[in-house]
């Protein structure tokens, strides 16, 4: 008797998990990507790898928006004479637009980051965060002999 109850409870629980997975698997994927990006950003010592982590992190946020615009069977958001103007038949175009803007902003951030990396490498000859954090690191980048 008790065995059957436990069996049913476990069965329902597994069912719910599978249902959630099937229904929301995209969110699990996004959270994984976001955590991976943040993890790389925090733990990597190399400045460029930190930037890669940052880009992963940003991308997961962008994908979250794109995911939210999807509708089952939704068409391209350009009004089709055959489909009419019922908004339920088209995917939501606004998140696409927002993310297009956010992507441009993201590219600008990456551009500035890469140019800063160039400056840092030219001055210190290293991109190792731990190396740059050492208290004896000179403020004017004089450790490197090569002329700037």
């Amino acid at each position: 008797m008790i065995g059957t109850v436990i069996g049913t409870v476990i069965g329902t629980a597994i069912g719910t998990v599978i249902e959630t997975l099937a229904d929301r698997y995209i969110y699990i994927f996004l959270v994984a990507l976001l955590s991976l990006g943040l993890f790389a950003l925090i733990t990597e010592r190399h400045l460029v790898k930190k930037l890669v982590g940052l880009v992963l992190f940003q991308t997961s946020v962008f994908l979250f928006f794109i995911e939210g615009s999807v509708k089952d069977g939704g068409d391209v958001p350009v009004i089709d004479p055959e489909l009419g103007s019922d908004p339920d038949l088209y995917v939501n175009p606004l998140p696409h637009l927002l993310i297009l803007t956010a992507l441009v902003v993201g590219v600008a951030v990456i551009g500035v980051a890469l140019s800063l990396i160039t400056v840092i490498h030219r001055a210190y000859g290293t991109l190792d965060d731990a190396e740059l954090s050492r208290p004896d690191t000179p403020a004017d980048g004089a450790r490197q002999e090569t002329p700037r």
Binding site: L38, L41, L47, K50, L51, L54, F57, Q58, V61, F64, F65, G68, L94, P95, L98, T101, A102, V105, A108, V109, V112, A113, L116, I117, V119, I120, A123, Y124, L132, T137, P138, A139, D140, G141
Partner: protein, 501 residues
């Protein structure tokens, strides 16, 4: 609601100015600088006019392309945003008028887009102030952040490292904000601030709204440098050139504070954040921690700009406490501290720039006896320092007064005690500097006798173009203190009442 082009012109004038200044800089950097001065002056006048108009007859609205909200994008100038916009304009004017080489650490050469970037930074800040929807706020946030990264890096290789770290943390912050905006958009289906307020009214119990609040607060808290998200600030502000540090400390972090006030108390349904969520209590506690930690670390600094940067962390703490207490006295204190701290910290950083230029030092021990040699700069510095400590009749006293009375009003005596007690820390770290500057004799500084930069008799007062901003801001600290009651009565009191209705 009056239709007006002013809300749109505020960010557009600096952006157009930036494009023109960038093109002109190829030919003549001197002309580019004057374009920047004119653009910022126009912004200041527009903001002052907008403040007067919106206080008198309600918010000014500009629907972009004639499309009204919720379908179109609206730029809104109400008394709160006009107040912030005016502050941005005035401080921006000081920054572009400060001599370029002293303020930014580089000789204005052909093809250096320095003033274009400053205008971009100011345009982004103004964009945040007038944004009428959450996504435009994000874009403006990123515009000013990108311009800040570039300007901080002007301070040399160490500044580039600081700027890179700020970039990583800052971008995570704005991405978190964007994620929060996504949560809000997918629950309400709208991004306009007004329509979000009405739609969210029925969704206050939903965990999605709570998650969105948490993400937005974390994102903007990073931009604002609330403890413990402040780790990027001391490095970035101390390595940045003086005028950039002044601009960042005086207005850049404050604009994030404005965005936080706007979203927590205006965009979210009335009383939702105050009654239902612990987020404001957290702001109070983290603000207090910032006040104590920032002040204690500032005491140990020997580098003047670093001391000022750590003190900024503490002052941001006061503003966070004022937002978190969420009663009208405390909120007035926070907003008043935004403008008061802007005047004093800009003055202190400009003075640090003058010292760097004349005495070639950032180290406090090497500044012994500089006071009598640079009387005007140091007089301005002293006035601003007294205001930071919070002695009447300077401006700093009044914002702390409102904060303390706000804390007493909530019955939270601990907060009041910490705010008053932290003034002692501020006294300690500024007194150390002031004592050396005015009363230290070069002989007593040991190794620096005679040949120390501060000890050499050759150090003289800086030229008028450098001293003028310091002196004017120093005097304005006292004037602000005297007119504070007028600012509160005309602008801040109605704003606070409207936000907390």
């Amino acid at each position: 609601m009056t239709r007006s082009a002013v809300p749109a012109l505020l960010p557009v004038v600096p952006f157009v100015g930036a494009a023109v200044a960038a093109m002109v800089a190829v030919v003549s950097p001197r002309v580019a600088r004057w374009i920047a001065v004119v653009a910022v002056a126009v912004v200041t006048v527009l903001a002052a006019w907008g403040l007067a108009r919106s206080v008198e007859s309600g918010p000014l609205v500009h629907p972009m392309g004639g499309w009204a909200a919720p379908f179109g994008i609206e730029y809104v100038l109400d008394p709160l945003s006009a107040f912030i916009a005016l502050l941005i304009g005035v401080i921006g004017l000081f920054v572009v008028l400060y001599p370029t080489r002293v303020g930014f650490g580089i000789e204005p050469e052909r093809g250096v887009f320095l003033h274009a970037i400053v205008l971009l930074l100011l345009g982004g800040l103004l964009g945040v102030a007038v944004a009428g929807d959450l996504f435009n706020l994000f874009v403006s946030l990123e515009i000013y952040s990108i311009a800040s990264y570039a300007l901080i890096a002007l301070g040399g290789p160490a500044a580039a490292v600081a700027s890179y770290r700020y970039l990583l943390i800052g971008t995570v912050g704005s991405s978190l904000y964007l994620l929060g905006v996504g949560f809000i958009y997918f629950t309400t289906g709208t991004l306009g601030m007004d329509s979000v307020t009405t739609t969210l009214g029925g969704l206050t119990g939903s965990p999605t709204t709570a998650a969105a609040t948490a993400l937005v607060v974390m994102g903007l808290g990073t931009k604002m440098a609330v403890f413990p998200l402040h780790v990027w600030l001391p490095d970035a502000h101390s390595h940045a050139p003086p005028a950039v540090a002044a601009l960042l400390a005086a207005v850049q972090v404050k604009v994030a504070a404005y965005a936080l006030i706007r979203i927590l108390l205006d965009v979210f349904p009335p009383r939702y954040v105050i009654d239902d969520l612990p987020v404001l209590d957290l702001l109070v506690w983290f603000g207090l921690a910032g006040v104590v930690v920032g002040s204690v670390i500032a005491i140990r600094q020997t580098d003047l700009k670093r001391l000022l940067a750590h003190s900024t962390v503490a002052q941001i703490g006061y503003i966070a406490v004022g937002i978190g207490l969420a009663n009208s006295q405390a909120l007035i204190g926070a907003l008043l501290h935004v403008v008061n701290h802007a005047a004093m910290k800009a003055c202190l950083f400009f003075a640090a720039g003058a010292i760097l230029e004349q005495a070639r030092t950032k180290k406090i021990p090497e500044m012994t006896g500089l006071g009598p040699r640079m009387p005007w700069t140091m007089a301005g510095f002293t006035l601003a320092a007294i205001s930071m400590i919070g002695l009447p009749p300077t401006a700093g006293f009044f914002s702390k007064w409102y904060l303390v009375s706000g804390a007493v009003e909530t019955g939270n005596w601990f907060v009041a005690v910490v705010i008053v007690g932290s003034s002692v820390f501020t006294l300690v770290y500024f007194l150390r500097v002031l004592e050396r500057i005015w009363f230290g004799t070069p002989e007593s500084s040991g190794a620096h006798t005679g040949d120390g930069p501060g000890g050499t008799p050759s150090v003289v007062e800086a030229r008028p173009a450098i001293v003028a901003p310091v002196a004017v801001l120093g005097i304005s600290v006292v004037v602000l203190g005297i007119v504070n009651f007028a600012i509160v009565r005309e602008v801040l009191d109605p704003v606070a009442i409207r936000l907390l209705n």
